[in-house]
Amino acid sequence: MIPYAAASEMQRALVEERRAGRVPDLLLLVEHPHVITLGVKVEAARSHLLATPEVLAARHVEVHESGRGGDITYHGPGQIVGYPIMDLRPDRCDVHRYVRDLEEVMIRTAADFGLQGGRIQGLTGAWVGADKLGAIGVRISRWITSHGFAFNVSTDLDFFNLIVPCGIPSGGVTSLARALGRLVHRDEAEASIVRHFGEVFDRNVIEGAAVGGGAGSD
């Protein structure tokens, strides 16, 4: 478990390292304690925060502004949060393509578990039916990526009731566990994500000796 602020700080440092060419493309896979994060349009995002500060405190949920794209979201235990730190130059300089690729990784991962996932026009993310399985919020700084995606494995979906996820009131949220009706081991889902990430981004992913889960690519 890595606190959100620490992970943000880590990403900031790694983006600089990546820019300087001192590290290869990286994919960090982490899990956060309960946290609600607001995208760059902070005011809009804040209006989608439904819970009072007291409720948040009682449930040990922090709130952070995040500097990523997107509106508001929740991260917490049981969710795989992926932070690719990649240089999209020279051949992948297309933000839409990047976002669609992240969706593709999550959709293929869902398929590994027998779930038919898909896209909904205009609503970024990986969806199962009308429920969102994986969310996306990205920051790109001179084509170096940070932030990324959040994939619900066995997330306690109750916590999404504290917010209007991504500012979309109509859509529900789901997890692998909810959609399948059985428990899914985090490691299994992580392995699947790593594999598909490698395929979709055409990278040879070298897995690290897991301390908290994570992998380098290239």
């Binding site: 478990m1 606190p3 060419g21 040990h60 990523r68 997107g70 897995e207 690290g208």
Partner: protein, 453 residues
């Protein structure tokens, strides 16, 4: 020369973008490739660099506005110097780096970034501040170590982050670490944390080495401009000095207990509104503070200070409760806890915490503590290994209170549990005594008498 800045096309199918933030004001100087504004499109936030060096002379599209690609959003007046400086192919340098990753990455590299966070958690009293410690680029780099370097570092208890690496990408090489050893660093590193100042506490003075010593290695091998030097705030410095001092004075040992809060939680839910009506806030911390007061009464050695070879038993039980602030950490003290009801304790904690946040604490509010409680759990820590607040001899760290599956009567049940860690001064408190103290706390919390609320 005026250079127009346009909304860039960030992808084939991207037709427009929203300016979310200008990072420069009109009149600000800007370097070529320095981030100039941020745009947002389809869940992506992107920082757009300036196309040239100069001065931002005009902003044509305001924050919050959405415009089609290639719309002129601002103007940069190029300076002569800037024009000369700007390289025609600024992109090529990072591209060259793409070659590097072909070499197999040491398997530890991608993972290393996750490791450094762990050592932060133990220092519970600082925990609220510590996680925000900038995780510097140099650290990320220096953690790519060869097995030999790892072995030397382990054997000599060296924090490799203190070493300036000269290897590829700033990596710490075997020669670097050997040079570091030769420079005399291990003398400090090998000292047991508590051993440095066994005789000092009598006077309260600290041994010759300053608490916060200059560390030339911090910037060794770094060019000016590759780092930024910021003085610590007064509060930060005081916390830093106190932590080092405490580690030198007391021989810290920690003992962890898992404690069940299910019953307390039921009581809390049942009585919460009554308490609110009475102006109190029935938090877990109120229960824990009360349980500690009872335990301090039963095991009085925990409620002492050490003066030279004497033990000073304190007659009052005053418990400091750490409050995390945006700007640091403060430990206001609830006085004479043993004579207070749970309601009074809850009111007192709420009052002190509120005044701490409003910067309205009086000096006496933070003085006179005889024992402390800190709460790394609120930041998600399973448990912390807290450092004693001097001149006390023990501190309790409360981990995350959460539902866990546990065996209850040979079945798996859901119980609300937390790890609580007692940090204590082994000079005067033995393990058995510390555990006795914790047993009283545990029994108090797990078998709370609802009539006592």
């Amino acid at each position: 020369m005026a250079k127009q800045v346009v909304m860039p096309q960030m992808g084939e199918s991207v037709a427009e973008g929203t300016i979310v933030r200008w990072l420069k004001k009109v009149g600000d100087p800007v370097e070529r490739d320095e981030p100039l504004f941020e745009i947002s499109t389809d869940k992506v936030d992107a920082e757009i660099p300036s196309p040239s060096a100069g001065v931002l002379s005009e902003i044509k599209v305001k924050e919050g506005e959405t415009v089609p690609i290639n719309t002129v959003v601002g103007v940069v007046n190029e300076t002569a110097e800037g024009t000369v400086k700007s390289k025609p192919e600024a992109v090529s340098a990072p591209d060259a780096a793409r070659v590097a990753p072909i070499a197999p990455v040491a398997p530890t590299a991608p993972i290393a970034p996750i490791a450094p966070i762990e050592p932060v958690a133990p220092v519970a009293p600082v925990a609220p501040v510590a996680p925000s410690r900038p995780w510097s680029a140099a650290e990320a780099r220096s953690l790519r170590l060869s097995p030999v370097v790892r072995k030397i570092a382990r054997e000599h208890h060296i924090d490799v982050r203190n070493i300036a690496g000269t290897g590829g990408g700033g990596r710490v090489t075997k020669n670097d670490i050997l040079a570091y050893l030769e420079a005399g660093a291990p003398v400090v590193a090998l000292q047991a944390p508590g051993a440095a100042a066994p005789q000092a506490p009598a006077t309260g003075a600290v041994p010759s080495a300053p608490l916060l010593a200059p560390n030339p290695l911090a910037v060794a091998g770094l060019d000016q401009g590759k780092y930024e030097r910021t003085p610590m705030s007064v509060m930060r410095r005081k916390i830093a000095e106190h932590m080092v001092m405490s580690k030198r004075i007391s021989s810290h040992v920690h003992s962890a207990f898992e404690i069940d809060f299910t019953k307390v939680d039921e009581i809390r839910k049942a009585k919460k509104q009554d308490y609110e009506k009475a102006g109190g806030k029935l938090t877990y911390m109120s229960f824990i503070t009360k349980a500690c007061a009872d335990a301090l009464k039963k095991v009085p050695i925990v409620n002492t200070s050490v003066d030279g070879t004497d033990i000073i038993y304190k007659k009052d039980i005053n418990i400091g409760v750490a409050v995390a602030l945006d700007w640091g950490l403060i430990v206001p003290v609830v006085k004479n806890v043993d004579s207070m009801s749970l309601l009074e304790i809850s009111k007192s904690i709420a009052d002190l915490a509120a005044r701490a946040r409003e910067k309205k604490l009086k000096p006496e509010d933070v003085q006179g503590g005889t024992f402390s409680i800190t709460n790394p759990g609120v930041f998600g820590a399973l448990f912390g290994m807290p450092i004693i607040s001097q001149p006390q001899v023990a501190i309790l760290g409360v981990g995350a209170i959460e539902k866990r599956p546990v065996v209850v009567d040979d079945a798996i049940g859901i119980r609300l549990r937390a790890y609580m860690v007692l940090g204590y001064d082994h000079r005067i408190i033995d393990g058995a005594v510390a555990d006795e103290f914790m047993q009283v706390v545990k029994k108090g919390i797990e078998n709370w008498d609802p009539a006592q609320v």
